[in-house]
Symmetry: C2
Subunit: 334 residues, 2 copies
DNA sequence: TTGTAGGCGTTATCAA
DNA sequence: TTGATAACGCCTACAA
């Protein structure tokens, strides 16, 4: 693997001339040909480390997500990766396994790698490193969850409205004992989905049994055990909303293990579960987030900032529309 | 964000002294305290670009996979990421969307980023960049598929044996018209799984209708349309093996759309489909690859090489055992 | 133990 | 248009 110096020796041109060609391309035709020949003969490859040391830029974007194994996260980042790659950027994907201290470590890593910008599905903790990005004018785009006190462009759905719609449907069909399994209390998305649940009850004038409200850690396993608890302890429960797809799979397993039938014994609705909801029997009611649009918009916002857009960050997040697919898992009671 | 130079100014010590502290830590107690104070006050962060320019190392590993959205790929890389992180390495994850030319571009990117090693689920094309890694003694570990002519450590399952086991079970239950949907013909894994299918027939002395053999591109959509074709064109088909989980979901959808029942109208088995096979009704027969062990072993092999192990690469890949879970989707015909 | 100085591969300034 | 030269931040002999 050759360096610019090697090219310069081979061609007899000065190092700086070769460098200029590599960047602007403005160079005498004859030399241009020589350089191009040398480039391929000597197998030149730019040393990104040197380049980024010099320019303090890396043409690389950091992507930080809670869970590499989540289908939802994966769908979004693969879209973002595609858009950014198209624009000439490269991408470093990191997972922080829902651990805020690991999140902070990865942010530091990305900072040290001098990424030009960041796309994050944040844990909710406001890390100092994020402020650093801001201070250094490296744009940050938040996906799925806002971060209070940080003015970053944010793309998400209206979580409150979505769960209100689901729970509203339950209530309308006559359900009065509705369980909810949501994410951890300290995660914005989880809180908002619960808020929608509470609000729907309030609007319908239905009182709430707080024993039906359970927090969970998004995992299949936790969804399984919490759902099992609910099924055993709350015999009167006729409907259940699960606020994440791994937990949903767990709940489904619990329901089957306990030999409950959907929807006869229990009505079920779940967030996400993209490809699977249609294939299960009965087909499962879901809130379908527009993952591709979320990814595309996130990438677009970041690219605009990278291109120099310094307009103030809108005070409200960008809200995309999630679709409630009712399908066959909700029983009419009245 | 401060540099070593700033620290040196702040403490009055020489730049090299600070650098030495940062690397070895051997420095007079008094100075040590001063440096540590400066480090936190000035918010020092190493410039990885400069470091990696100097050392020609990056303490970073590249991970390259065909599909960021694949659950199988995701499970493996998240394990690998965990192990490598534990060992002090950082990780850059890239997807090449099953496109060999994109694969080559990402390899070049990783090369330019000076990653110290590579974990790849390769497309099958032997790219020049891989040779470069080899020449520069940057270890490469292959996952899921070998690459002919390249001696890299490789971790995979015995694909031939696995599909032989499945098809053998079909045959034993009396099935004689067995369809197979495998991956693209140019992908090793797909060819081997087909080979197992053919071999099982041969051993059982059952002749093959090549109309039952279909190649596919691993995607849900292709699985759907190919399965539909098979169901329509091959009315006598009583069993179907699908060699990848996205295709399996597609096949499942096709089966439902055509109102076939499993296993009464058609027996079905599928590779992977980790979390879902147990939840579907009937529970689906699968070949379960030991994704965690694959990831763990891949990481271990790479770390050994990085630590200086120069023992010759074994001529045979490391083969891990996949488990055939029969469950309830295979009908006994005889 | 600490300091001086050179160089890693690029880019960028300024003369020629 | 081209070329000599000085950074960028860090590491590492070698010298003090």
């Amino acid at each position: 693997m050759a360096t610019i110096k090697d090219i310069s020796k081979y061609t007899g041109l000065a190092l700086s001339t070769v460098s200029k060609y590599l960047n602007n391309g403005v160079v005498r035709e004859k030399n241009k040909r020589k350089i191009e020949e040398a480039l391929s003969v000597l197998d030149y490859r730019p040393n990104e480390a040197a380049r980024s040391l010099k320019t303090n830029k890396s043409m690389t974007i950091g992507i930080l997500i809670p869970n590499l194994r989540s289908a939802f996260d994966a769908a979004i980042i693969s879209m973002i990766e595609e858009e950014l790659t198209r624009a000439g950027y490269s991408v470093i994907i990191c997972g922080y396994r829902k651990d805020p201290s690991l999140e902070s470590a990865k942010l530091r890593f990305l900072l040290n790698k001098r990424v030009d910008g960041l796309v994050v599905i944040p844990s909710g903790v406001v890390h100092e490193e994020l402020r650093t990005f801001q201070k250094e004018n490296r744009p940050v785009v938040l996906i799925d969850r806002p971060l209070s006190g940080m003015d970053f462009d944010t793309v998400m759905i209206d979580n409150v409205a979505s769960s209100m719609e689901v729970v509203g449907a339950f209530l309308e069909e006559g359900h009065r004992s509705i369980g909810i399994i949501t994410g951890p209390e300290d995660v914005y998305t989880a809180r908002m989905r619960l808020k929608g649940y509470l609000e729907a009850h309030k609007r319908a004038g239905v009182s709430i049994d707080y024993g039906l409200v359970r927090y969970c850690d998004w995992s299949l396993e936790s969804g399984y055990s919490i759902a099992k608890e609910l099924l055993m302890e709350k015999r009167g429960m006729t409907a259940l909303i699960v606020c994440g797809d791994d937990m949903g799979l767990g709940a489904l397993k619990a329901i089957q293990d306990e030999s409950f039938r959907i929807p006869d014994d229990i009505s079920l609705a779940c967030f996400d579960l993209l490809q699977i909801a249609e294939i299960l029997r009965p087909r499962l009611a879901t809130v379908e987030q527009p993952v591709l649009e979320i990814g595309r918009l996130g990438a677009k916002l970041l690219l605009e900032r990278l291109a120099g857009d310094t307009s103030p960050v809108p005070s409200a997040p960008h809200i995309l529309k999630a679709v409630f697919n009712r399908r066959d898992s909700i029983l009419r009671l009245n």
